[in-house]
Amino acid sequence: MLPGKNSEERKPVDEVEIKLNINGNVTQVKTEASTTLLYMLRDDLGLTGTKDGCSSGDCGACVVMVDNKPVNSCMMLAPQAEGTTVITVEGLEKDDELHPLQRAFGETWAFQCGFCTPGMLISCYALLETNDDPSREEILTAIAGNFCRCTGYQGVVNAVQRAAAELRTKNEDTEKTDV
């Protein structure tokens, strides 16, 4: 512990019970009232895909979707997530099939160490939910809060555009089938 950080004597902990939808599953979880959403996911639910890079909202490694919006889960208390729908990196894969974004991230080397990837993926996933053909500018805006120290951001732009193109083709095919 470094000077400046508050320390607390050991005392009984206020526990709360939270109900929310995580990656499509309605989940009930008991956690400390002061826990962040990040640590509820990691410690109480074992969803360690979401990373802690700074615990101060500066790096974006912990970004998850909460009710369709990307948020830094280190900046949100677990009780604030009551009744919400949360998507984490573990929820992107469907029926053992990677989301096109996930595949594109691997193919374009949009990461090296991979520690920023879960947050980066969710920020990009959130973008594609509302924009099926994002420009470079729009992608950079979407990941403006996600910090990557290994690779920079060009690979991410390439990956998102590749995934967006794939999703558009898929949707066109679906529309054709529907007709």
Partner: protein, 757 residues
């Protein structure tokens, strides 16, 4: 073998699926039954005497399993990168803000925090030594009692520098200053210690050198190395700061003391305050040249502030001196290398080992010279650049240097250097545009005379699948992919058939540290040798079965190949045959970095002899009202010898450029009287998505003739080196004013701006 099937082709990394699904386990993600939370108590002072240290109250708290101080360390209380001068836990004095004093293991983070708060430390603050120039004086108080504050002082000379300066048409002399820089990998330092069934200790470590970690953990525990095992899980970046050990030794000590698994992960603030930084340096530099721009001599004095302990300071400062003349033909060179102890942050390895500081200086000098002589910056570099066969100022004869001038020419072409004056230089009254280049070299490998080897174990099973065991740490730089590609290439199989075990000291021989851009060469060669041994066995079996001579056979795309055409027999068939007939498909190989002996004497100690050459050219826009610099464009051309993994190579280049832009413009740890004022990612400003321009990157390949797998010579360090001088030279071009200090923040730019220019 004919053309390559896998090497040089884009392929997803073997661990990509784990990473994109969140299944990849890094140290913070490891959960073990009964695992305790470990924490360290760090010094709040830059320098203080420990008057009293009492942990008895902390030990009595509920939920606390262990509290240890220096008295509880069973073995040696020191780190050992090179010299054992840094205690693991402070004894009688703390010497920088971040010296560890005590360690605790408790049932959870709350209990661990309570234990830290209950440790009673009485400090007597002492006047610290913060100015390296004062610390150097013989009368200065010793930072570390019994040790000279000057921990390194060497002079290297070649030729007759003073005579050359005397005879020169032009002499340029400047003093440069660089800053403390922070690695800021996304995964902070961490380790998990646990006790094995026989009392041995296993540590999961976020590190670059698993075998060196094992030695250090064993040494601290007073155990034999055979009782200690180090495993690296996924690692979230390192860039040099995880070369020397950090908390993994303490994780082992705590697990041993608590007799249970201990999870010890630093917080971000702790990380920034405690791990090594890039050395701030003061470099006096004199360049002498003819009026045509031919370099005659370089004279430099490097003073590096290493903080209180040596860590890898010797290595960093030695490398700074090794490259101080740049990729140029300099016959007369003198460099004085001084490293000083202070009570400032501890410094050590950071991508490039002192080469970025050297390059900032020699490339700035090159442009100062070009400006003064009115010579084009490209031409003056081409005029002086080393060539294949050039005997450098270090005594090294460069075996392949084509990449030096080729990277310059290619980069100039990419940005249309000749036509840069046609671009609007003054788009608005307060905006100035400029172009600047930098070309550099960085050696790969540790250097001649140093122990530089790596081993691997390769096994093919009877179903044709392969396990590759290596103790080379992959921190993201991609050595696992490279090794898998090389093995797959030689065995004629696809990468998916190869499982690469993450580094584990009990599975694989020592591969040394993942540093100095060395693993592609040393581990790469070991993989080729091991794969060739298995390939030989497979082909031998094929000869027996087909009665076709071996020179007509090959393995490719999963098949035996005869005269270039796929045979019906597959690699799997051959593997099964080997299994059934008792031919073990198992190979172990240890490869040593190759230094030929039939060369002239290399006079610079521990010189490297394989060079990464590259050129970057930056286009910047300076806002003269705010002092803000925007990098509008950056082109980068890198010679990698032979590109094995394009995804990794481009990733390394782009990431290096991003770090280099940060080093040039924004990144600076602000330290006042030894105390760091900005230990957070909020205040230590790192380039984000909008700060990196669209990059043009090009890879060129001039295969390294000696000791390089397929000619590949590494890429990791080079990309971070040229951005700072390239951007500095572009700002000079834009404003007509040179800068001599990093980072080039608005505060440093505004004073030199004159809108009337």
């Amino acid at each position: 073998m004919s053309d390559l099937a896998i090497v040089g082709k884009w392929t997803a990394a073997p661990g990509a699926r784990e990473i994109v699904t969140g299944q990849a386990r890094y140290c913070p993600d490891i959960q073990l039954p009964g695992m305790a939370c470990g924490k360290l108590l760090y010094s709040p002072y830059a320098r203080a005497r420990i008057v009293k240290l009492n942990v008895s109250a902390a030990r009595k708290l509920p939920g606390v399993f262990a509290v240890i101080t220096h008295e509880d360390i069973p073995g040696e209380n020191s780190y050992l990168y090179a010299e054992p001068d840094q205690p693991l836990l402070a004894v009688d004095e703390v010497r920088f803000q971040g010296d560890a004093v005590a360690a605790v293991a408790a049932i959870d983070a709350r209990a661990a925090d309570a234990a830290l708060a209950a440790i009673r430390v009485e400090y007597e603050e002492l006047p610290g030594i913060f100015n390296p120039l004062e610390a150097m004086q013989p009368t200065a108080d010793q930072v570390l009692k019994g040790h000279d504050n000057v921990m390194m002082s060497q002079v290297y000379r070649t030729g007759d520098v003073d005579a050359a300066i005397e005879s020169a048409d032009i002499v340029i002399e400047n003093t440069y200053r660089t800053q403390w820089a922070e690695h800021a990998y996304l995964e902070v330092e961490g380790g998990v210690g646990l006790v094995d069934h026989d009392g041995g200790i296993t540590v999961y470590s976020s590190c670059q050198a698993p075998h060196r970690d094992r030695m250090q953990i064993a040494r601290a525990l007073g155990m034999s190395e055979s009782m200690v095992r180090v495993i690296t899980p996924y690692i979230g970046g390192a860039f040099g700061a995880k070369d020397e050990a950090h908390v993994q030794i303490h994780a082992g000590l705590l697990a041993h003391a608590a007799q249970r698994p201990v999870h010890l992960i630093r917080e971000r603030r702790e990380s920034i305050l405690t791990h090594v930084k890039r050395h701030p340096m003061i470099i006096d530099y004199t360049t002498a040249a003819t009026k045509e721009g031919q370099l005659l001599a370089v004279k430099a004095r490097v003073i590096a502030d290493g903080g209180p302990y040596s860590n890898s300071t010797h290595e960093v400062v030695n490398k700074c001196g090794e490259f101080i003349g740049g990729p140029y033909n300099v016959e007369n060179l003198e460099v004085e290398k001084i490293a000083v102890r202070t009570n400032n942050p501890i410094c050590g390895a950071f991508r490039g080992f002192g080469a970025p500081q050297a390059a900032f200086v020699y490339e700035s000098q090159m442009d100062d010279l070009a400006h003064k002589l009115n010579i084009d910056p490209l031409q003056i570099r081409l005029l002086n650049g080393v060539e294949t066969g050039t005997k450098m100022y270090t005594g090294v004869v460069v075996r392949e240097a084509s990449g030096m001038k080729e990277s310059l020419n290619k980069a100039a072409k990419l940005i249309d250097w000749e036509k840069r004056d046609e671009i609007e230089r003054n788009p608005k009254p307060h905006l100035r545009r400029g172009f600047g280049m930098a070309t550099i070299l960085k050696g790969a490998g540790l250097g001649r005379g140093l122990n530089d080897h790596a081993g691997v174990v390769l096994e093919m099973h009877r179903d044709g699948s392969v396990v590759l065991k290596s103790a080379a740490a992959d921190m993201g730089q991609g050595i696992i992919t490279v090794m898998a590609q090389l093995a797959a290439e030689r065995l004629g199989i696809d990468i998916a058939s190869i499982r690469v075990a993450r580094a584990d000291t009990e599975k694989a021989p020592d591969a040394g540290a993942s540093c100095a851009s060395r693993q592609v060469m040393v581990s790469g060669n070991a993989v080729l040798e091991a794969a060739d041994s298995i390939r030989d066995t497979l082909l031998g079996l094929a000869v027996r079965k087909t009665k076709i001579s071996k020179d007509r056979l090959d393995l490719r795309a999963g098949h035996l190949v005869v005269d270039g055409k796929p045979h019906e027999m597959t690699v799997k068939d051959l593997a099964l045959r080997a299994g059934v007939w008792g031919y073990p498909l198992h190979a172990e190989s240890i490869s040593h970095f190759e230094y030929p002996t039939d060369v002239p004497e290399v006079t610079y100690r521990y010189s490297t002899e394989v060079f990464q050459f590259c050129t970057h050219i930056a286009q910047v826009l300076v806002d003269c009202e705010t002092g803000q610099v925007t990098v509008e464009k950056l082109v980068a051309v890198h010679d990698v010898g032979k590109m094995i993994n394009p995804g990794g190579v481009y990733g390394q280049i782009e990431g290096g450029i991003a770090q280099g832009i940060g080093y040039a413009l924004t990144e600076e740890l602000i330290v006042q009287n030894g105390l760091t004022k900005n230990p957070s990612l909020e205040n230590y400003i790192i380039p984000m998505a909008f700060d990196i321009p669209e990059l043009e990157m090009e890879v060129i390949e001039f295969p390294e003739p000696v000791g390089a797998p397929l000619g590949a010579k590494g890429i990791a360090e080079a990309p971070i080196i040229p951005p700072a001088p390239a951007i500095r030279n572009a700002i000079y071009d834009a404003l007509g004013k040179p800068l001599y200090q990093l980072p080039m923040t608005p505060e440093r730019i505004l004073p030199v701006v004159n809108l009337d220019d």
